[in-house]
């Protein structure tokens, strides 16, 4: 009897989930297991700001209902951390000491918010915005008219900033060169984009380097600020929440030492195959070789990530499709004078 092929997918975001659906279409008898560190099934990051509109139930944010996974025979192992990949025996080692064998592996673990090494020791006082729980915690800490300080600024942060200002909160960005990441903006154009941000009610401050984040255990009378941001020079800034947005860093610690080529992301060919014959990668975790540019590129944004999931699944089941992006990378200012990024668009 022919044994079913075992596909393992690390990551349950847009790329991983899309790949799982496509693998089911291409290989109906296969065993598909999605491993995710998330406690919930796939929630669209773009929908998280809906918590500011009063959405309290995470079920409302699920991209697919639970029965979708059941009907498609896709096993989702939530709250499961891969500690390493044994490429010799084709096994995933989990943090809880269990192992899982695969025939083909797709790494779609995405990117985590990068925190500069100098601020890592203050991680406990920083508010991430990657999960439903994070979003609810942020909303609760802000109250009605809270103050949020963003560090760095990138298109994920700016997306949230416009939701926060729309919800009546005050947002200040202490910006650096990642302000419009991953857009590559000419120095001469920065001023007009900053102006557009200010038109959206977002305050942008340049030239102040944060060095520490402190907790305020007893806020001053009349304020509810619980965080203090300390700079290299000048007066500290107080806020309800301090959020790092320094671009995304591929989440692939578990791939270190596996022999699979890595620079910042997993290096893949245009077919999204890594240097290991049994491993593919998709989404924000991979750097794709571009023969035209003679270099490895990251492709960000909902459309790109979803397309990568689709192509990876196609190629894992014998296809030979190359990843090419049709998404524009152009940052625009609308007629209303506000900023618009193609990276904010999604289904």
């Amino acid at each position: 009897m022919k044994q079913s092929r075992r596909y393992a997918i690390i990551g349950s975001g847009a790329a991983g989930t899309e790949a799982a659906c496509q693998l089911r279409n291409h290989d109906p008898d296969s065993v598909i297991t999605v491993v995710t560190t998330s406690k919930l099934q796939f929630i669209d990051r773009y929908d998280l700001p809906r918590v500011f509109d009063g959405v309290d139930d995470w079920r409302e944010l699920l991209v697919h209902p639970p029965e979708f996974y059941h009907d498609n025979k896709i096993t989702v192992r939530r709250n499961t951390w891969v500690s390493s990949v044994n490429t010799r025996e084709n096994k995933l080692n989990f943090r809880h000491k269990e192992t899982m064998v695969y025939d083909k592996l797709l790494v779609a673990s995405g990117g985590g918010g990068h925190i500069p090494e100098g601020l890592r020791e203050f991680s406990a006082y920083l508010n991430p915005f990657t999960t439903f729980q994070n979003a609810v915690r942020l909303r609760d800490s802000l109250g009605k008219q809270g103050k949020v300080v963003m560090l760095g600024g990138d298109m994920v942060g700016l997306d949230l900033a416009r939701s926060l200002t729309a919800a009546g909160h005050q947002v200040t960005i202490f910006a650096n060169e990642t302000l419009f990441w991953p857009h590559e903006i000419k120095q001469a154009d920065i001023a007009q984009y900053v102006k557009a941000l200010e038109a959206m009610g977002i305050k942008v401050v340049f030239g102040r380097k944060p060095v520490a984040v402190e907790q305020i255990s007893r806020p001053s009378k009349g304020t509810s600020y619980s965080r203090r941001l300390v700079f290299e020079k000048g007066k500290p800034e107080l806020a309800n929440a301090i959020m790092p947005f320094y671009g995304l860093m591929p989440a692939l610690n578990f791939m270190m030492g596996t022999g699979v080529d890595i620079e910042r992301g997993l290096l893949v060919n245009p077919h999204l195959k890594t240097t290991n014959d049994k491993i593919w990668a998709a989404g924000d975790v991979c750097q794709i070789w571009s023969p035209e540019d003679n270099r490895y590129n990251f492709f960000y944004g909902w459309a790109n990530v979803k397309k990568m999931g689709l192509i990876a699944a196609h190629n894992m089941t014998g296809g030979s499709t190359e990843m090419k992006t049709s998404q524009t990378n152009k940052l625009k200012i609308t007629k209303n004078g506000v900023l618009h990024s193609p990276y904010w668009e999604h289904d």
Binding site: M256, G257, E263
Partner: protein
């Protein structure tokens, strides 16, 4: 009496039991010293950290001493293998941690072996007494050229072997790369001074500021050879490798004539000699080793606004520790990969304007285990900078030799199996032989060559590796220790680091953290064995084993040295020849030992170290009897 019983099971009757110590009627420990290749083979197979250490440091033993709060003993156990524990506890490249069993898949993070070495040095008593095992004076006079880690380690060993040693060092102070290459914020000079002083105070004549060479005021190698019974060359790799650039009309040796371009090694050496160094606002460093990282971190302290290290491959494949890389990034150093410099760009006045790079892709593996970087044609790009520090490698300087010595294809000194160069009585050690390596490799090599010199001078082996075999009546560990997380090294806040060039970054583990970290060590020197004659095959040990470490076997391969090799496993009882502890899988939790109803599982401590050969056997090559006690 179970201790005695279990001990005798694996000690052949003709072995020496003189180390047995009895208290009252109960035998608590039995010690023997073995040169049996099977015992040495077991250690090399089963104690990965010690095998990986170029100086063969008895790592499990010194870590165990920390759990026992015996910091002085821990320091001495280190010093038996490596005369600079406090130094290496800060700047070792840690080959041991790469292979630590605790870091194997599914076991978690490796033990912070290097940090614990520093714990031994930091917490030993202020009145700690150093133990030396000295031979009587031999009357032999030896010269050592270079007071770097290899030279110091060799001189120390040669002195303890009774020889009269003189070190010639051209710099004002001893230490070589330790002093002139490594910044004080990584290696405080008082630690270096103390440990060098301890190494040479047994009678080494240290002549600093005296160069061996062909100059007018130099001491010639020829005269050294005439005046001494043997000479050891350990002058290291003190010249930078030139940056290979595309032909752009600029000769290779002219690169450093451009204002703003400097070789990283020269930059650090001159700074440590006391010369005031400056850098521009935008600093580029090319190179991937510790020197490159040190250059970048020094540049930050000298006030550079933007410092970037450019790598030919990627972060994952560079030969530095993860912690060093992390601290470098914390100090705002950017690290960019997959690029090779091909051209230097200059302003009209001839000063540096930037560097042209070519984009690389990763290729296969080089013979030395590093990755190949393959340049991509037509992918050139420029970066702007006003200072370029080149730290792509180092090489030996041979022009001081006034006698012809055979060189290898890399222009390093060639030595034979005796450690001797092509000239009789002239030996060589450390980086001067094998090219640039690490401090611990230099120490380990210096020591090995010292023993070979002694053997050549005295006509026989007087110190050799033995395995101390000692029965243990307790697992020494608890299963709970396996769940202790890795203890992080506290560091100086970034802001305070830049006040001066000497504020040490790593602050050392606090005592309670150090003990927790030490408990994490599996103590791989403990050998678990099952006496199959007494085993009743109840499977209790298999039931409690946390890993697949107790196996039913139908046979075992025997290695060339006589030690046990691959286990031929079976799952069928009728084919089972023995029930066996797979010491490679075993994490020494002791659960099997505690549960065994017939006490047929024994634990033996196997410690490999150098031991002086007893006087009566001096010079005897066959089956020497080894006796002695650990310091």
């Amino acid at each position: 009496m179970t201790g005695e019983k279990s001990t005798k099971l694996y000690l052949p009757e003709n072995e020496d039991f003189s180390g047995t110590q009895a208290f009252g009627t109960r035998v608590v420990t039995t010690v023997r010293y073995s040169t049996d290749p099977r015992d040495v083979g077991w250690v090399k197979e089963n104690i990965p950290c010690q095998t990986a250490c170029p100086a063969s440091t008895n790592i499990p033993a010194y870590i165990r001493s920390i759990v026992e709060k015996r910091y002085g003993r821990s320091y001495e156990l280190n010093r038996m293998a490596n005369v600079l524990p406090g130094v290496l506890g800060r700047i070792c490249s840690r080959p041991c941690e790469d292979v630590c069993r605790h870091g194997w898949p599914g076991n978690g993070e490796p033990v912070a072996i290097c940090h614990l070495k520093r714990v031994a040095a930091d917490y030993k008593s202020p009145s700690h007494q150093i133990n030396e095992s000295l031979f009587t004076p031999s009357g032999k006079r030896l010269a050592v050229v270079g007071a770097g880690p290899a030279g110091i380690a060799a001189a120390y060993d040669l002195t303890t072997l009774g020889h009269n040693v003189t070190i010639y060092e051209r710099e004002k102070n001893p230490g070589g790369m330790l002093r002139y290459g490594i910044p004080a914020f990584r290696l405080p000079r008082e630690i270096l001074n103390e440990e060098i002083r301890n190494a040479v105070r047994l009678g080494v004549d240290l002549k600093t500021g005296v160069a061996v060479g062909t100059g007018e005021n130099d001491v010639s190698l020829k005269s050294l050879r005439q005046d001494f019974d043997a000479v050891l060359l350990s002058s290291g790799c003190m010249a930078p490798i030139e940056l290979p650039l595309r032909k752009n009309g600029l000769a290779q040796d002219e690169t450093s004539d451009i204002a703003g371009v400097e070789y990283g090694l020269n930059f650090l050496v001159e700074m440590h000699r006391g010369k005031t160094k400056t850098v521009g606002k935008r600093v580029a460093v090319v190179g991937a080793g510790f020197t490159a990282l040190d250059c970048a971190r020094v540049a930050c302290r000298l006030g550079a606004e933007e410092v970037t290290i450019h790598l030919r491959t990627t972060e994952e494949y560079i030969p530095v520790t993860k912690e060093e890389l992390f601290e470098c990034k914390r100090e705002s150093v950017n690290i960019l990969g997959l690029r090779t410099p091909v051209e230097l760009l200059t302003h009209e006045d001839g000063s540096l304007r930037g560097v042209r790079f070519v984009q690389n892709r990763l290729g296969g593996w080089r013979a030395n285990g590093r990755r190949l970087a393959i340049p991509i044609e037509g992918s050139e790009f420029d970066i702007e900078c006003d200072t370029l520090l080149i730290a792509i490698g180092q090489k030996t300087v041979n022009d001081y030799l006034d006698m012809p010595l055979e060189l290898d294809r890399w222009n390093c000194i060639k030595i034979n199996r005796q450690g001797m160069t092509s000239r009789k009585g002239v030996f060589a050690a450390g980086d001067f032989v094998g090219g640039p390596s690490t401090v611990i490799e230099a120490v380990g090599h210096g020591r090995k060559i010292a023993l070979k010199m002694d053997r050549w001078l005295m006509g026989g082996e007087r110190r050799k590796q033995v395995v101390k075999v000692e029965s243990v009546g307790d697992p020494l560990r608890e299963r709970a220790f396996d769940f202790i997380p890795l203890q992080e090294m506290p560091t100086t806040p970034v802001k305070q680091r830049f006040n001066d060039m000497t504020t040490e970054v790593e602050q050392g583990l606090e005592l309670d953290k150090a003990e927790e970290e030490a408990k994490r060590c599996y103590l791989c020197y403990l050998k678990y064995e099952i006496d199959v004659d007494n085993c009743i095959y109840c499977r209790a040990c298999i039931e409690v084993a946390p890993r697949d470490c107790i196996k039913l076997v139908e046979g075992i391969d025997i290695n060339k040295d006589g030690s046990y090799g691959l286990l031929r496993e079976t799952s069928e009882w009728d084919k089972t020849g023995a029930i066996w502890v797979d010491n490679n899988e075993c994490i020494r939790c002791g659960a099997c030992y505690m549960v065994c109803p017939t006490r047929c599982i024994s634990i033996t401590k196997m410690e490999l170290f150098y031991q002086n050969v007893a006087e009566k056997n001096h010079g005897v090559q066959e089956d020497p009897v080894i006796k002695g006690v650990m310091p």
